[in-house]
Structures are given as structure tokens and as C-alpha cells.
């Protein structure tokens, strides 16, 4: 067997964002409160990208920051808030007052969005769902016309379904625990909308906590959710999901999230926060230095190891 080639997908964060996220692109992020690609979000802000259409099932701080930074003009998704910590104030200022600019949102339910990603990932034009019927999620349109269609089962059962259009992305972000140098990617813990959301990307920009030898992946292939040939760029970036958690690596930085929730309620508070944690920080390494080793050590996960299975035959 010939020697496999050395991966050319590995690249630094700034280069990956520059190369794969052009102004005006349709960008999918993900994570539903786990493994969110925050390091990429910070870098998009630092590079002051414009006119992005941001796609996701459940946004939190990631979308709020991009909106506050003026990087986004359209959203397709289902939820934007800070969960138990309250409302997303950059989003409120943008929708209610046009600060820093007006954003438009086309809304679906969580299940609806993930089925739209599934359609895109499978190369289909739409998917049917049984939710959203009878609600304003179908009746009120923003910028997609039509945003959905209600049809009767063509096979005669008389049942109604809502058809939702596929939601392709120019580039999908995924933050994973680990991959090998080819981008064969493994995640564990909750998957959220990451499976279909990632496959909805024409290109995939992957960030990982660590790169492992390919034999580690091949010893446990059931844990792989994306094969390397679908991945376009790999950025190894420890704590790339901070301030959220990554199963087996670190916990949520609750103090960081609470601080953001409190400060972002005013425009001045948001600007001060962004200066402190984004624009005044050169890159991810400087960000980690600013957090400090003690804080990171406190967040590091304690071991809860899985059992082993026999792959033999």
C-alpha cells in the first residue's frame, strides 16, 4: 500500500475563517448548548465579516454576538435566547430598534429546522413534518416566499403535512471532541442538530479539541459522525467551545455566561464586553491566557470513562 498523503486541511483559525467564510455566505452553526464553535464565532467578529445569513436550530450567545457585531443580516432558525439566563439583548436591539442594523428572521420550529437540514444533507428539495400546522410559524413569512406549504398526503390517507424547504449552507461549522488528520470526526454526548446541520454544509469547517492518530478513530468507528472526505478545513483548538461545555473536556463557564447576560442588556455594556473579550484580544491563545490557567483548570472535566465493546468477528 502506498503511503497516505499528509493532510492539507489543517490550518490556523484566522486562515480558515478568511478562506471559508466569505461575506454574504449562508453559514450554519450548531451545538444546541453543547460543543458550540465559539472560537470561530470570535474570529468572524474580529475579521468583521458582513451580511451573513446565519442558520441554526437553537441559537444562544453565538448569534447574539454576531448580531451585536453587525456581521449578520438574515437568520433562519427557531430560537434565540440565553436559556435560563434570559433574553438575547443584541437580538432585541437589532429587531426592535435596528441597532447596529436591522436583521430579518425566517422562523421554523426546532424539529422543522433540523428536518430542513436533513433535506439539504440528503440532497432533497424539502421534508415533511407534522408540527407547525395551525400556527403562525406557517402563516407569517419574513423573506422566504413561500416559507412552507401545507399539502394533503398524495397517497390518499387525507393526512395533512407541512413541507419545509431544504436549508443548505455554503459552509457548516462543527466543533467536535476529536478527529484524525484527514478529518474523520468523532463526537460523543448529546448530538443536538449537529449531524444533519453539518451535512447541510456544501463545505465543512471543523474545529476540534484534539487531533488523534487515525488508529484511535478506527478502533471505535461507531463514534464517527462525519467521514474525513466531507471535511474541508480542520482547526485544532483546545477550549474552542468555551464558554460552553464539551463532554469529556470541560464544563460550562457559568460565571462567564452570567457576566455576559448581565452586561449585554445595555448597548454600552455590550460594547464594553465585546471590546474586552473579542476586539481587544488578538486571537484564541490570547483569549485563553486572559481566562487564565486557574480558571481553565477549574473547568476541566473529571473522568467518567465509557466501557469497551468487542468489534471482533
Amino acid at each position: 500500500m502506498a503511503e497516505p498523503e499528509v493532510s492539507s486541511k489543517l490550518m490556523p483559525l484566522a486562515e480558515a475563517v478568511k478562506k471559508f467564510i466569505p461575506d454574504g455566505c449562508r453559514l450554519r452553526s450548531g451545538g444546541i448548548a453543547v460543543r458550540k464553535p465559539f472560537a470561530v464565532i470570535y474570529e468572524i467578529m474580529r475579521q468583521r465579516k458582513r451580511d451573513l445569513t446565519f442558520l441554526m436550530s437553537g441559537w444562544t450567545e453565538d448569534a447574539d454576538w454576531l448580531i451585536g457585531a453587525g456581521c449578520v443580516d438574515k437568520l433562519e432558525g427557531s430560537y434565540l435566547g440565553l436559556e435560563a439566563l434570559g433574553l438575547a439583548y443584541c437580538y432585541r436591539r437589532a429587531v426592535e430598534k435596528g441597532i447596529p442594523r436591522k436583521v430579518l428572521i425566517e422562523e421554523y420550529s426546532n424539529f422543522g429546522m433540523t428536518m430542513r437540514f436533513m433535506a439539504a444533507g440528503m440532497g432533497l428539495p424539502f421534508m415533511p413534518v407534522k408540527s407547525q400546522l395551525g400556527s403562525d410559524l406557517l402563516a407569517v413569512e419574513s423573506f422566504r416566499h413561500p416559507k412552507a406549504q401545507v399539502v394533503e398526503d398524495p397517497f390518499g390517507s387525507g393526512e395533512k403535512v407541512a413541507l419545509l424547504p431544504a436549508c443548505p449552507a455554503d459552509v457548516a461549522l462543527l466543533h467536535a471532541q476529536r478527529c484524525d488528520e484527514d478529518g474523520n470526526t468523532q463526537v460523543w454526548g448529546q448530538i443536538g442538530d449537529d449531524l444533519w446541520g453539518t451535512y447541510a454544509g456544501k463545505k465543512i469547517l471543523l474545529t476540534v479539541e484534539e487531533i488523534v492518530p487515525t488508529r484511535v478513530i478506527r478502533r471505535d468507528p461507531n463514534r464517527t459522525i462525519v467521514p474525513g472526505f466531507r471535511v474541508d478545513a480542520i482547526v485544532p483548538i483546545p477550549f474552542g467551545g468555551h464558554p460552553y461545555q464539551v463532554q469529556g473536556y470541560y464544563d460550562t463557564d457559568r460565571a462567564f455566561r452570567k457576566d455576559y447576560a448581565a452586561r449585554s442588556t445595555t448597548l454600552e455594556g455590550w460594547q464594553g464586553w465585546a471590546e474586552e473579550w473579542v476586539y481587544g484580544v488578538e486571537g484564541h491563545e490570547a483569549y485563553l491566557n486572559k481566562l487564565g490557567e486557574e480558571r481553565l483548570a477549574h473547568l476541566r472535566a473529571k473522568p467518567v470513562m465509557s466501557g469497551k465493546v468487542n468489534y471482533g468477528y
Binding site: V140, K160, I191, Q247, T252
Partner: protein
């Protein structure tokens, strides 16, 4: 409210749980009268047994000890949509007499007074669970004649409303507010007051509803929390006081 929510779950039921008070309700039920109920979270966790209070539906503490981990598509698509979820919990910023909910905007949709988070999984839960339990604070601005936006359908416009829309099943079975517990008339699908929380009167409750509220002829006082319920809630469900306060 968390205690009332817990009392609505029966043992061996499959419950779809959201962040905050529903989470405490689910955990309380499991530690008291419903040890075999199964809690499902939309981030993809089946039968979670968390050892601390989860801050969000995706909290990593839901993972160790669960029976299955998958994704949002799978829990909604394979468990919720075909009808395997007995009970789902949802909240709202506005509710009407038919139990329809708004969590999207206050005011005009295209230039709102307050932009709220939106549906998330709420519409899916309200559309597809066998029954839903609504938990929300109550005042005249929340219990309204007409919603500014229908995020999640209750009984829509009354009897047959869900069927006409094409929904396969379900609808709200009760509303738990900070003032009382409401249920829905089987024939008219209109919400009525079923029990009044301790220390409040029916008149006070009427003043906090903007339509002419129907009251059950047998309206009673909500059963006060038992010592055991309070103890389990404070020591096992939320010892840090994240949702209950210090």
C-alpha cells in the same frame, strides 16, 4: 409551580422536559411518586439521571447514566412525532382561552415591542405530545383575549381545531400558573379554573385574566406542598437554588 408540575406526571410515563421549572418538576416526580418515568431532552438524551441541576437542555450532566444519546432529529422524529411521548412541558409569554401560546413577539411581528426567543422546540412539543402541561406566570397582559403571534397551538379555535389543522393528537391538559391550576372543558376546549393556590381568591384570579374566566363548580384550593415534596425539591432537585432562588 414545580410541585404542581411534578404531580401531573404519572409513573412509567414518557416525559419531554425543557429547561427550568419543568426540569425540577420532572426530577421531583422521579424522586417521589413516579420513579419509573422517563425524561427525554431535545438535545438528544433519553432517560436522563442528572446528578446536579442542569442549567440548560443540553447540559453535559444529563449524559452520564442516561440510556441513549442521539440528536434533536431523532428524539423529535423517532419518539415525539410518531406519538410515543405522553407528556410535554412548555411555557409562554401570552396564552389565550384555548391554550394557544406565544413565545415569539409582543406587539406587531414586523416591528415588535419586545422580541422574545421564538419557538425552539415548543411548537413541536405542543403539536405532537399526547398532552402538554403549560407553566407560566399570570397577569392580564399574559392571559390575553388575542395573542400577538401563535407560536404553539393549543386547541386553536375550539372543538375540532387541531384536527382541521392536521395535527395528529394532543393539546394542553392543564395550565399551571403562579396563581392557580386550569384545565380544559372536554366539549368547548375552553380553559377553566380548577384550583386556587393557597392565599389567593377566585376574584383575585379573575382580575388577572383578560377574558371572562370560567370557574369549575367544584373549584378547590391547590393542595399545599407536602414536607417531603419541599425537602426533595430543595435538597435533591435544586440544592444550589438555581431556579428556586437561594
Amino acid at each position: 409551580m414545580a410541585i404542581c408540575a411534578a404531580r401531573e406526571i404519572r409513573d412509567r410515563e414518557i416525559a419531554f422536559i425543557g429547561t427550568g421549572l419543568p426540569m425540577l418538576g420532572g426530577m421531583l416526580a422521579k424522586y417521589t411518586h413516579a420513579p419509573n418515568c422517563i425524561m427525554i431532552f431535545e438535545s438528544g438524551v433519553v432517560d436522563a439521571r442528572p446528578k446536579r441541576t442542569p442549567l440548560s437542555i443540553g447540559d453535559a450532566c444529563l449524559v452520564p447514566g442516561s440510556v441513549m444519546l442521539c440528536g434533536l432529529t431523532e428524539v423529535f422524529g423517532l419518539i415525539m412525532q410518531p406519538g410515543y411521548v405522553d407528556v410535554g412541558y412548555i411555557g409562554g409569554a401570552q396564552i389565550d382561552r384555548f391554550g394557544n401560546l406565544n413565545t415569539t413577539v409582543i406587539g406587531d411581528y414586523h416591528s415588535p415591542k419586545v422580541r422574545l426567543p421564538g419557538s425552539g422546540g415548543a411548537n413541536d412539543i405542543g403539536s405532537l405530545a399526547k398532552r402538554t402541561i403549560i407553566m407560566m406566570k399570570q397577569d392580564r397582559l399574559k392571559f390575553v383575549e388575542k395573542l400577538d403571534y401563535v407560536t404553539t397551538p393549543g386547541y386553536i379555535d375550539g372543538p375540532g381545531g387541531r384536527e382541521r389543522a392536521g395535527l395528529p393528537r394532543g393539546g394542553p391538559s392543564c395550565v399551571i400558573s403562579d396563581m392557580g391550576v386550569y384545565r380544559f372543558d372536554g366539549a368547548t376546549k375552553v380553559m377553566y379554573l380548577d384550583s386556587v393556590h393557597p392565599g389567593l381568591s377566585v376574584d383575585e384570579i379573575r382580575r388577572n385574566v383578560s377574558w371572562d374566566l370560567e370557574v369549575a363548580p367544584t373549584v378547590r384550593k391547590t393542595k399545599p406542598p407536602t414536607k417531603r415534596e419541599l425537602q426533595v425539591l430543595r435538597t435533591k432537585c435544586d440544592p444550589e437554588g438555581i431556579f428556586l432562588g437561594a
